[in-house]
């Protein structure tokens, strides 16, 4: 079975929003810079609450920040 993954646009969104640093974004949503780096790299899936907080910072819907790459969409 092909593994499904969650991808995100956080890195691009940070740069589109005044080159916000990982530390700054982390501070605003209560995550460490290292956790933000892990989320951006797709190595850690945030909780639903953290995902909503991230989307809220960029004033976007959740699906505009995070994408679920299912087998069907490949």
């Amino acid at each position: 079975m092909t593994p499904r993954t969650i991808s995100n646009r956080i890195r691009a969104l940070r740069f589109e929003n005044g080159e916000m640093s990982q530390a700054e974004l982390g501070r605003r949503i209560g995550l460490t810079r290292q956790t933000l780096a892990a989320i951006e790299a797709g190595k850690y899936s945030p909780s639903l609450e953290a995902a909503f907080r991230i989307a809220e910072v960029f004033k976007l819907d959740l699906q505009q920040v995070f994408q679920w790459n299912s087998e069907d969409s490949r």
Binding site: G26, G30, L31, T32, R33, Q34, T35, A37, A38, K43, Y44, P46, S47, A50
Partner: protein, 142 residues
Amino acid sequence: MPYREKLAWLSLTAMALTFGPYFAFAGRSAAMEKPLPNLHLLWLFAIAAGVQMAILGVGRLWLRHKERSEGNLQAPDERDRAIEYRSVRAAYCVLIGGMILVGCVMPFNSSGWRIINAALAMIVAAEVVHYATAVLSYRRDA
């Protein structure tokens, strides 16, 4: 490197520097087979535990001061808590397995300091698994 990964490395180093030499010496047959109560080994363990606590105390204070001055000192977040949960769960399995071995199997074929040292070794092994799991989790998810 995250602050809590540094703490895990510090704990692993402290254990290697203190309990490594203790078990290398106290784990020998010649040391364990002296007549009971053989308090010499108890003193050695107390010294190892004391030195470990001193290393951890000084190391944690230094790390905390360094991280705070660099503005990196933050409360644990959800990933830190998930890694801690995973680490404690792995350590608990080792501890329970070790205690079953020491408490239910060893009394049939061992006695005295062999059993005491085995119990201490299982506690240390559980701690090693705890911090090693944390380090591996931070490395894998980095």
